[in-house]
């Protein structure tokens, strides 16, 4: 069966104002709204569109994380994924661990395409897709803003610093999504009900044979330095004068 595997991550919702815990041990997540990482929603949307075009038959969504991640998997099922895979893991999950777990799922499911968000908006690491592609020894096309499947390969337009780059990659491949790939659909209420009945399989890192190794110790979290509040000027002339005084014009 032609499958697309989508990796998602449960993150603090992008609208939440992040506050660092006073003891520097992390950021405050108690009672904070959690969501599917926005880039991963784009990944899922793309997978759903591929299936709707008839280029794939099944969309599988997967995550690695604690029990609560099942909420986000259910959201993904409500969006339209056919089934979900949850690799249960607590504590810090580094990109290498996540990628190793996803690779095990890939070996089970044999997808023709794996789509992930380009980065998670919590740790902003931006690594998992590339690490996975390296471990799998398959192509990667990161920062995708356009994806066309052409039989045994994919043509991917990437948002790079210079502009737009197009790559051709043989399938299977790992794609990571940028913002403008698509606009994810909204979840409808009846679909939330239906999603409750869709299959959700759970694994653990150890049943998959993945060692949960943390290679980077998180020493200290701090709030960023604040910029000093500036001044208001009343018109363009005053602005130009102020900039000239600072030697900026």
């Amino acid at each position: 069966m032609k499958r697309v595997l989508v990796g998602i991550k449960r993150v603090v919702d992008y609208n939440v104002r992040i506050r660092v815990k006073p003891d520097g041990s992390g950021v405050i997540t108690d009672g904070v709204k959690m969501s599917v990482n926005p880039f991963d929603e784009i990944a899922l949307e793309e997978a759903l569109r591929i299936k709707e075009r008839g280029a794939a038959e099944e969309v599988i969504v997967a995550t690695v994380g604690p029990a609560e991640c099942q909420q986000q998997l259910r959201t993904a099922l409500a969006m339209g994924a056919d089934r979900a895979l949850h690799v249960q893991a607590d504590g810090v999950i580094e990109p290498l661990t996540a990628a190793r777990a996803l690779l095990k799922l890939i070996e089970r499911e044999q997808p023709l395409l794996v789509i992930l968000g380009k980065q998670a908006i919590d740790d902003d690491n931006g690594q998992t897709g590339q690490v996975l592609a390296a471990l799998w020894n398959r192509p990667q096309a990161t920062y995708a803003s356009k994806l066309e499947l052409t039989g045994t390969s994919a043509r991917v337009t990437r948002e790079v610093d210079a502009g737009l780059e197009t790559l051709e990659v043989d399938l299977p491949a790992v794609i990571t999504t940028d913002l403008r790939l698509n606009e994810p659909r909204y979840v409808k209420l009846p679909d939330i009900m239906k999603a409750k009945k869709k299959p959700l399989d759970t694994f653990t890192l150890s049943t998959l044979g993945v060692e949960a190794r943390q290679q980077l110790k998180l020493v200290r979290f701090e709030p960023p330095p604040q910029r000093q509040k500036g001044i208001r000027v009343k018109d363009a002339a005053e602005l130009v004068e102020a900039l000239q005084k600072k030697g900026l014009l």
Partner: protein, 315 residues
Amino acid sequence: MSAKILIVAEHDGAKLNPSTAKCVTCARALAGAEITVVVCAASAAAVAAQAAQLAGVTGVLTLENPANAHALAALLAPQIVAIAGPFSHVLGPSTTFGKDLMARIAGLLGAPQVSDIMAIESPTRFRRPIYAGNAILTVESSGEGKVVGTVRTASFEAAGGGGTAAIEAAQANVELPTHTRFVSVSAARSDRPDLQTAARVISGGRALGSAEGFKILYSLADKLGAAVGASRAAVDAGYAPNEMQVGQTGKIIAPELYMAIGISGAIQHLTGIKDARTIVAINKDSEAPIFEVADLGLVGDLFQIVPEIERLIGK
């Protein structure tokens, strides 16, 4: 043991990208570090010569291969891993080139990657922004094995010249995959300064209203010798191309002067500009969050103010 740092050069085949000189400055924070720059190219001589001149660089390696004409991570990563043996750290810039490549190298090495390094405190201790810059995290590696990193270029000045490092051809005896092929790159040709290194940047937001509306920014930018940027909203709306996007998911920049015009200042945008020396905000909404970070704020109609600024500086 002093650090042996390998920096992967970013270049366009002819010119070394300034991001590499910023990686060198980052690496120089470690006293006594040996700093080697590796240039992967079809023909590396010109870029290698530029890398050899960077102050602090102790050696330059070239990996020449016709397949390196375009920087494809799947092809470059195994070559760099093949020569990475003696090094304690492998660094690249936190640009789309470096972010794409370095994590693939980390994957092949099974090594941890520190993304967006804003400071190196010791060979094992690094600081980096998370949550779109809303928190700064200090991480520590074990000291065993290699550390891969991407360097947040906005946090570092470019290393100066005057270096005289030796250039040596390296060999990577690895079979390169054929599963990834370069097709094309379309970059808007612009005579304006590069957004990532420009001393002055003028950015526009959704309030510009159209691609046509951006023309007043281009006009002012040309008068100031400034680069032009855009908010995500403006890029999403099609007013400006993607390479102009400034912010968490676009470019992170640190110009001397940043003028945010008709940009409300979403946190994702602010994270891309908070290292700018002076921030100017022009917005008709006096409550816009951009004013909280602006050194100079002006409330008003940008379509009147921007042309007026241009007239005033033209005098």
